[in-house]
């Protein structure tokens, strides 16, 4: 069993930012992440981020990831990789499963920065190999350096769908089109405009009906829907594709918060059931904080601000910062978040 003052679960943008903010105070911090590398989804974000030029705006995500990691290393923040948390038990006991076995970490404060998971969609053929989350396709392209397929149909026109489409094109993969159930495109117009310039059609008021193929995706069938959400039968289109990417939203990965007994609120706009937190990111369970997508689905820039706030608050409650300092930081961050969430 080892001891730490602040344990942070998840080393993505929120977790790393929390780690830096807390470790700068002198608190003993450890990060736990189940992946091979820290950084969460940052390292597959090869596009430039929106945001304020005060922060990281205009920088590509993976470069932001590198900067955060460098800061963590400078501060000698301990990072356990390939380690997942199997449970959080009474009195701050964290069960960590590492490649070498199970370890117990005793922490005074715990920050949950576990992120989110892609939503899935069931339709005939949706279990065929070749149907995958857009985030998964993005990981293949931008982390593993593998094309997920040659011809892709994208389902969902949110920012993830639009950005991944663009990045698939950059990776030399053809995207035959984007399907969007709603009557209007969900993501930013500048993202949609840049893929339209590259000749990719967007089918609003359309839905995926079927993936066809023998043991793998060979064709995708889409159809137009009318105002009553009924499929217009003579509108069906078939595409020869080997991959169907689903970009239909994210769900917070909140199991650990459930396990801790956190109070949840249902907030569809933020993705699903979200653990309640106070203005300092602390949940109703004392010493348990949340930050990033687990506290509501949003951009990485929001996750970084929330992580910073949680890290500052946890360190303050251990006596490493004074309250006046925390209060000042909180009001700045809150201001920034208000801007970013718009």
């Amino acid at each position: 069993m080892s001891e730490t003052e602040i344990a942070i679960i998840g080393a993505g943008p929120a977790g790393l930012s929390a780690g830096i903010a807390a470790a700068e105070s002198g608190a003993k911090v450890c990060l736990i992440d189940r992946n091979l590398e820290a950084g969460g989804q940052l390292f597959k974000q090869i596009h430039k981020f929106f945001g304020s030029s005060k922060h990281f705006a205009g920088e590509r995500g993976f470069l932001i990831g590198r900067k955060l990691l460098e800061s963590c290393n400078k501060l000698a923040v301990e990072i356990h990789l390939q380690s997942y948390v199997g449970g959080i038990f009474p009195e701050g006991k964290i069960m960590m499963v590492t490649p070498h076995g199970t370890e117990i970490i005793q922490a005074q404060k715990i920050i949950l920065a576990t992120g989110a998971i892609e939503k899935s969609l069931a339709f005939p053929g949706s279990t065929l190999p070749g149907v995958m989350g857009a985030g998964a396709a993005q990981t293949l392209c931008n982390i593993q350096g593998v094309q997920p397929g040659k011809e892709v149909l994208m389902v969902g026109s949110g920012n993830v769908g639009l950005i991944v489409t663009y990045q698939l094109l950059q990776a030399g993969v053809n995207v035959v089109g984007i399907v969007e159930l709603a009557s209007e495109i969900k993501g930013y117009g500048v993202h949609s405009a840049k893929i339209r310039r590259l000749g990719i059609p967007i089918y609003t008021q359309h839905t995926i009906l079927e993936a066809k193929g023998n043991k793998k995706v060979e064709k995708a069938v889409i159809g137009k829907i009318d105002q009553n959400q009924k499929i217009i039968l003579n509108s069906l289109k078939e595409f020869y594709v080997d991959t169907i990417c689903l970009a239909i939203g994210l769900n917070p990965l909140a199991e650990l918060a459930w396990m801790c007994g956190c109070h949840f609120d249902y907030k569809p706009a933020l993705g699903s059931h979200i653990p309640w937190h106070n203005p300092y990111m602390e949940t109703n369970i004392k010493n348990i904080y949340v930050a990033g997508d687990v506290a509501g689905i949003g951009e990485a820039t929001i996750a970084m601000e929330e992580g910073k706030l949680a890290g500052l608050a946890a360190a303050t409650s251990l006596g490493y910062y004074n309250h006046a300092f925390l209060e000042k930081q909180r009001s700045n961050i809150e201001n920034d978040l208000k801007n970013l969430r718009r």
Binding site: G86, G87, F89, P90, K93, M95, I104, M259, G261
Partner: protein, 396 residues
Amino acid sequence: MKRQYVDVIIIGGGVIGTSIAYYLVKEGVKVTLIEKEDIASGTSGACDGNLMLLSKSPGHHFQLARESLKLFPSLIKDLDVNVGYRKNGCLMLLETKEQWDLSQKNIKQQQEAGLNVKLMDDKQTRNTEPFLTSDIYGSCHTQENGHINPIMLTLGLYQKSRQQGADILLHEPVKEILYKKGQVLGVRTACQEIYAKYIVNATGVYANEIGKMTEIDIPVLPKRGQVLVTESIPPFINNSIICGCYLKAKHHLCDKKDINDPIVSLGRGLSLEQTIEGNLLIGSTREYVNFDTRTTYEGMTAIAQHACQLFPKLKEVKMIRSFSGLRPATIDGLPIIGHIKTLKGMLLAVGHEGDGIILAPITGKLIAELICGKKLSFNIQPFSLERFKDASGKLK
């Protein structure tokens, strides 16, 4: 404040309460069921699905469970949801010479009671369960066993009762029991008063909280059982499995000595079952920790270690979840079913501990028979509240 008049008020929306509602509405009785949270949100939603006879001590307990098991096939046919019911065998593993010797006597009693059970040596046992460790003495085996999804069963009973006219109030805690001169009158919730001739307390671990409203002590204590859930895997066990110390853990825990022994209280009541979906449910601890429903590292480790000892292959299987539920336990392991002598119209159907699922149909049926003045299909004398009282009427 709203007022209502019904025949029977049932307090508690678990498997027992909904089963009582189900059997009462069948008799044409006007029923209101009041649940403080949601259907199956307590014990019935946090337990395993074994319908097990082998673990019952010979006598009333065993007979009651056996009568109840007989009711399942027709009951399930009547429900509109798939409750995942299936028959399977049950195997009690004997790990030590001591257990083997003990079981010789136990099995004879069970056979006399009418259970088709046989003793198997280590080889026969491993033929039945190929993934079992070779380090085993033998086992007791019976084919009289079943398996069900407890949440779906409770929801099925709820749905059917409602369809047939039961009024079911959710998220409405009972604030007060109205009674006068030794006779119940009804209950008061935050927004209404409901009057009835009979009130059934089917609140499981909260039995005593309701009891206190009428100044009657009901000796039911919450006993926490932690359960591990694994990922879905191909058929791994052919039977529901319990270990030989199950009985001991089940019945002897009320000894002060045993409660303080972590090995006894945490890992010694192992049971293993595989759901239709393929997940293994591995349970369970038996701890008195009031109403704390968290899982603990110590509890989970104890369960996992014991399970891996018996089935070494389990080391390669991923655990995906854990949960714990509170079992309404009585000191002698038997439920409390029947009238409260000192308060006319008040009935109890509580204290089923880990047997609520298997005992739900018979409990529902018996309470319905009691209220309708019918001939009882089972002698409930051994389950009366009076058994806990001394000559002066005080709890022992």
